[in-house]
Symmetry: C2
Subunit: 395 residues, 2 copies
Amino acid sequence: MEFNFADSAKKMRSSAIRDLMSLAVRPDIISFAGGMPGNDLFPIDDLREIVAQLPTKRLEIAMQYGETSGMNTLIIALKNWLQQKGFPVDKNRIILTTGSLQALHILGKIFINPGDTILVENPSFVGALSAFKSFEANIVGVNIDKNGICIDDLREKLKLNPKFLYIMPNFHNPAGIIYSQQRRTELLQLMQEYNVPIFEDDAYGELFYDEETKSMLSPLKTIAKNEEQILYTGSFSKIFGPGLRLGWMLVPPEVYEKAEKCKQAIDACSSTLSQTLAEEFLTSGRMEKYIANLRNIYRQRRDCMVEELKKHMPAEVSFVEPKGGFYIWIKLPKGVNEKELLKIAIEKGVVFVIGSTFDPLGNENGYIRISFSNNTIEEIQKGIKILGESIKYLL
Amino acid sequence: MEFNFADSAKKMRSSAIRDLMSLAVRPDIISFAGGMPGNDLFPIDDLREIVAQLPTKRLEIAMQYGETSGMNTLIIALKNWLQQKGFPVDKNRIILTTGSLQALHILGKIFINPGDTILVENPSFVGALSAFKSFEANIVGVNIDKNGICIDDLREKLKLNPKFLYIMPNFHNPAGIIYSQQRRTELLQLMQEYNVPIFEDDAYGELFYDEETKSMLSPLKTIAKNEEQILYTGSFSKIFGPGLRLGWMLVPPEVYEKAEKCKQAIDACSSTLSQTLAEEFLTSGRMEKYIANLRNIYRQRRDCMVEELKKHMPAEVSFVEPKGGFYIWIKLPKGVNEKELLKIAIEKGVVFVIGSTFDPLGNENGYIRISFSNNTIEEIQKGIKILGESIKYLL
């Protein structure tokens, strides 16, 4: 039988990151590849306690279909939490989504006609690239530096009349940076002149590793004069567990209306079991305690990785020390090819993600992404030493 | 700010069934509207037991990202289960999906170009219609009778060169019928002449209410000479709980490859927590016991509803007694308008879904769908009496 697929399906490509994931589970390989929380850090005791203690009626509701936009009680809890952080929750509406990737997928679907130009940071989150590509967007990258998106480049690219701009101002994946206050202001000033929505992806915002950074976090949605321009997405993946597949969008009513209809046709609703667990985790105060603990542990892992990098990398290697999140974005010495390095490193027992994975066009850029979130101190020490040796081998 | 949505988003419509759901939760109204399992029937004790007893390592994996196509251990368990039922599991591959609606959404996305003709039964499942509409399909209905799809009408409509045929041979939603063996054979014979895939949706197949019916169930995927032509979808929603959002597709490798890439861009993976619970529910033998009990209870509810209908409906009303599933599809007397009837019935305290909801073009058809799955015997007795009075009022 010959299957006559749709044109868009004929063009689909697999995300390169997937193949690395199979390497990531080999016990003989230290993986800095995954963008995932530490397995050892999930709040399993809390989970068991919640399921044991929740009234039967609530668990029955948790096993049933729910509203497409999410369970009302969780939406209220999330609203309260976001309001405390300064979000304009009353002018916007929330949709719970199957991971925040689904929020990006839905926003992509309701904005992109095939061939439409959209802007993303270069480098950018591979999941978002994959979602936007599935709608046949013409994806244009905008440069970033250690302080955020490059305003001049953005001004230039806005002339292409893009449908939206997708960015991660807090603890960027893969670049590990946080936008400076000044850059945020400049960005908002520039964007105000254009009728172009900003998708603000804040999956890592809770994972800051010092108090000074905390004061820098202010999401664009909380500070923009024209907050309506910003379609904000968040996630429980990094503050509870990605296995729940639970994220959200906070968007103006007009966008909500389209997004809700779109979600109806995708999966009807996100797991009500996940939503019930998340609501209880959030409202019982367990989440706050849990995140505080996560910050401490991830800070230690970050500190360790930075220290080991300083110890083992040749002088030609450079990187920005991340103030939160999971990632360090390593600029390789000239002449060291990322694919060749990956091959050598895998032979020696370390895996990571090459920079081209995060390039909107898949171009090699002389960078690699390593993450410190799912490794013990010992693994980081051992793995970074191997990485250093691998780079030196190619110099 | 003016949002410049994609063309397809501008055309999106809300599913009519959604508004009824808000009525369905009003305590003063008896709802026969929802296509949902009984809240009182979910296996909450099993759920608590599983979460309490699973090793911590497995719960950690349950909180983490998983493979896009699903957790390998669940796929193996599902394969074994399906193999026992005669499915060609070795020639096909499984993808776990976020409800079986997502499986239909993905299949829609990889087959439909805007404007493509597809065939569905008329009436058809509203979720599937909504998914296929979101890709701007030209949806053409094929008539069904009490024995299944009408072969002559199908032969006629196949001339339109459709991309696929979507059907529910077992306990049809909303029509409540099961395809006869003869109709299955005729259908497969006809379809063999065409290079047109069949999407076989079998969400209700486990819910047969007598042994004779059990022997009629044989899914097309298990009996077709050209089984490759059949893209099969199943669901845990009716045999564990829809709140898990867990379904699957069993499809040939070529389709798998496209579908897996498509899912990567939608939500990366389905809830690994749900998958872990489903695996344990299935492999521990709890599921089999649970389904056996469900059949008994739903049979009683079906028997009660059929009996009450015979007691309270005017002679001009007709329906096929369902041998499984959740639904009775009621043909109204001539002159009784379904919308008017719904208005009267809601005033008297009963809600259901009008037939036009399931018509591919939204045309009125003189039918209503009532479900017996989520009501007690007392509610069924009271509600059907009210429904009878409402119809008589309009005669």
